[in-house]
C-alpha cells in the first residue's frame, strides 16, 4: 500500500502516478539523464508546483543565472518567473566560473550550506532542487573530500525537513549516473531518456529505484510541451510493439515500392505536402483504406471537409471507405479549424485517439489548424501531438497545404518536416494544356527510398505513382 503521507507530489503530470504518489518526503531524490532530456525543466516544475501548493522552494543552479533561467523558462506557461517574483522560489546561482580550480587541502561545503540556509530561511522553503551536480564536481574536482561533503549536504537538507531533487548526467551500463552519484541519494532515482530508436525520436521516463515504496518500473513516454514535462503512463503491453521494426504499407503499392518496397515504419509520422488538388486527401484515403484492409483501426481527422464529402470524393478515385465506417474500423472526426484553439484541438485529438484506439491516424490538412508559423504554439503543439501518437505506436499521416513551387518545399514547413520521419511531396502542373500530377519522396528516415519523381495517376481504381522516363523518372534533386 502506498503511504501517501510520506510522499511529496511533484505536480509534474503523470510523474506522481509512476512514483506511486510522489517523491519521498524529506529525502533528496536523483533525476538522471543525458543532455537535453528535460532535467532542468522537471526541477523547475517541481518547485513551481510546490510554490502553488504553499511549499516554497530553493533552486541551486551551477550553470545558469536567474536572467538565463527566466529566458529559458519563458517558453513554458507554468509561470516560473512569476513564482520567483512573488518570492516563492529563490534562485541561488553558484557561478561555476568563480569557483576556484585549485584545491590546496581538505575543505568543507560550509559556504554553500550557509548560502542555502539563508535562502531557505528567507522564504521558508520546503523544497530544494540542485541542477546539476556535475558542474560543481567538474569545477571543484572529483575527490573523496567532495563526495563526503556532498553526502553531508544532502543529509543536512533532509534533516532540515526539505524534500528535494538533484539532477545529474546519466551513466552507462550498470551506473545510473556518470559519476556514480546514486550512492549518495539512495531513496529514489528517476531516469529521463531521450533517444532515437528505430529512427523514431522518443522520450522516456523510468523510476529506477524507489526504496520502501511502490512504483512502476516500466518506461513511460513523455513530452516537453508548453506546460513542461508531461508523462503518459502506459501499461507494459502497449510498449512492446512500440520498439518493433515493423513496416506497414501506405495503401498504395507503387508508393510502397518507392519506400524500399515495404512502406513506412510502424509508429512513424509521414508528411504529405502539396498544392490544392495535388492528391493529398487521396493519399490519406488510401492510407486508411490499407490499414482497414489489414484489419486495423483508423481515425481520420478532417479539418476542411465533412465526412460525407470525403466519402463521396474518395469513392470517385477508387477508395470505397463506407464498409470500414459501417464496420467501425474507420472513424471520421470532422472539425472546423476555427472551432477551437490549438490547445483545444490537441485535447480533442487526444480524446478521440483514446476513445477509438486506432493504429493509423490521418490529419487532413494539418496546416489548417496549425498554421504556417515557424515557432510558437503551432510547433509545440505539433511536438506534443507527434509524441502523443508515437507514444501509442500510431502510424500517422499529416497532410499539409503548400503553394506549388519547383522544389516542392519552403521554409514555412521546415518546423513541421523536422519532426516527420517521411516526407512525400505532391505537385500539380499544367503542361501543354493538360494537367499532370507528380510525387516524390523528399526524405524517409532509415529507409532506402526512391529519389526519382514519378507521375501520379488517379483513376477509379486508386492512386498510382507511375515511373516515367523508362522506369526511372527524373531525379528529384
Amino acid at each position: 500500500m502506498n503511504d501517501t503521507s510520506s510522499k511529496t507530489l511533484t505536480y509534474v503530470p503523470g510523474l506522481d502516478h509512476i512514483l506511486g504518489g510522489g517523491l519521498p518526503t524529506r529525502r533528496i531524490s536523483l533525476v538522471t539523464g543525458g543532455a537535453g532530456c528535460g532535467k532542468s525543466v522537471l526541477a523547475a516544475q517541481f518547485l513551481v508546483g510546490g510554490a502553488g501548493a504553499g511549499e516554497p522552494g530553493v533552486l541551486v543552479t551551477f550553470e545558469q543565472g536567474l536572467d538565463e533561467l527566466r529566458r529559458d523558462f519563458r517558453g513554458f506557461d507554468f509561470g516560473f518567473a512569476e513564482r520567483v517574483d512573488a518570492g516563492e522560489i529563490q534562485v541561488l546561482h553558484v557561478d561555476s566560473d568563480t569557483l576556484p580550480d585549485t584545491t590546496t587541502g581538505s575543505f568543507t561545503l560550509d559556504g554553500l550550506l550557509l548560502q542555502l540556509e539563508g535562502a531557505i530561511e528567507e522564504i521558508g522553503a520546503k523544497r530544494v532542487a540542485l541542477d546539476t551536480l556535475e558542474s560543481v564536481i567538474s569545477e571543484l574536482g572529483d575527490s573523496a573530500n567532495l563526495r563526503r561533503e556532498l553526502r553531508r549536504l544532502f543529509r543536512w537538507l533532509e534533516e532540515r525537513g526539505l524534500t528535494g531533487l538533484v539532477t545529474a548526467e546519466a551513466g552507462h551500463g550498470e551506473a545510473f549516473t556518470r559519476r556514480g552519484l546514486e550512492e549518495y541519494v539512495a531513496d529514489c532515482v528517476i531516469l529521463l531518456d531521450f533517444r532515437i530508436r528505430n529512427e523514431l525520436a522518443t522520450r522516456r521516463a523510468r523510476v529506477l529505484k524507489y526504496r520502501g515504496g511502490s512504483h512502476s518500473g516500466d518506461e513511460h513516454p513523455f513530452l516537453i510541451g508548453p506546460s513542461g514535462i508531461e508523462l503518459f503512463p502506459l501499461t507494459a503491453s502497449r510498449l512492446e510493439y512500440e520498439a518493433s521494426r515493423e513496416r506497414i504499407g501506405t495503401g498504395i503499392p507503387s508508393l510502397d515500392e518507392m519506400l524500399d518496397g515495404t512502406g513506412v515504419h510502424r509508429g512513424s509520422s509521414t508528411l504529405v505536402s502539396g498544392s490544392p488538388g495535388a492528391g493529398k486527401s487521396s493519399l490519406g484515403a488510401a492510407f486508411v483504406d490499407g490499414a482497414c484492409r489489414r484489419g486495423e483501426r483508423a481515425l481520420y481527422f478532417s479539418f476542411e471537409e465533412s465526412p460525407e464529402q470525403i466519402l463521396r470524393n474518395m469513392e470517385a478515385v477508387g477508395y470505397d471507405l463506407r464498409p470500414w465506417v459501417d464496420g467501425d474500423l474507420l472513424v471520421f472526426e470532422s472539425r472546423r479549424p476555427s472551432q477551437r484553439g490549438l490547445e483545444g484541438h490537441l485535447f480533442g485529438i487526444q480524446r478521440a485517439v483514446e476513445e477509438h484506439d486506432p493504429q493509423v491516424v490521418v490529419l487532413d490538412p494539418f496546416t489548417s489548424i496549425a498554421g504556417p508559423q515557424e515557432t510558437g504554439p503551432s510547433r509545440s503543439m505539433l511536438v506534443r501531438l507527434v509524441d502523443l501518437l508515437k507514444g501509442r505506436s500510431i502510424t500517422t499521416m499529416f497532410t499539409a497545404l503548400e503553394a506549388a513551387n519547383l522544389s516542392g518545399h519552403s521554409a514555412s514547413q521546415s518546423h513541421v518536416s523536422s519532426l516527420m520521419d517521411t516526407w512525400v511531396v505532391l505537385q500539380a502542373k499544367r503542361t501543354e494544356g493538360a494537367r499532370h500530377r507528380y510525387g516524390w519522396i523528399l526524405k524517409s528516415r532509415g529507409i532506402e527510398h526512391s529519389r526519382y519523381v514519378r507521375e501520379l495517376t488517379v483513376t477509379d481504381e486508386g492512386i498510382e505513382f507511375v515511373a516515367t522516363d523508362g522506369g526511372r523518372g527524373e531525379a528529384a534533386d
Binding site: P100, T102, T104, F107, T108, L109, G111, L114, Q115
Partner: protein
C-alpha cells in the same frame, strides 16, 4: 629580476573565509600568514572573514567551500579552496611567484 613582488607587497591583499574559528580554520590562517610573509612580504595584508559572524557574505561573495582564500589585490582576483597544506598549489593558485 628587479621587479620582485616583495617591492609591491603593500598592494597585496588576501581574504580568508572560514566558518567559525575551528582548529582547521586557525591552522589555515597560520599557514596563509606564513606563506604571505615568506613569498610576498610583511606589508601584504590578510583579512579573516568568519561567515558564522557574517552569514550573508557567503552569498554576496559567492563562497561555496571553506576555507576559501581570495587574492583581492592585485587584480584580477585569484581564488583557492582548502586548508593550504599544499603550499606549492596555494602559491600557484594565488598567482604568487615562488621566490
Amino acid at each position: 629580476m628587479d621587479e620582485t613582488p616583495k617591492a609591491l607587497a603593500r598592494d597585496w591583499h588576501f581574504l580568508l573565509y572560514v566558518a567559525g574559528m575551528t582548529p582547521t580554520a586557525e591552522a589555515a590562517h597560520r599557514r596563509l600568514e606564513a606563506l604571505v610573509a615568506d613569498h610576498v612580504g610583511p606589508d601584504a595584508t590578510v583579512e579573516v572573514v568568519d561567515l558564522n559572524q557574517e552569514p550573508a557574505r557567503a552569498r554576496l561573495d559567492g563562497i561555496v567551500a571553506i576555507p576559501t582564500v581570495i587574492r583581492t589585490r592585485p587584480t584580477p582576483p585569484r581564488t583557492v579552496i582548502g586548508d593550504l597544506t599544499d603550499t606549492a598549489g596555494a602559491l600557484r593558485g594565488l598567482g604568487i611567484p615562488d621566490v
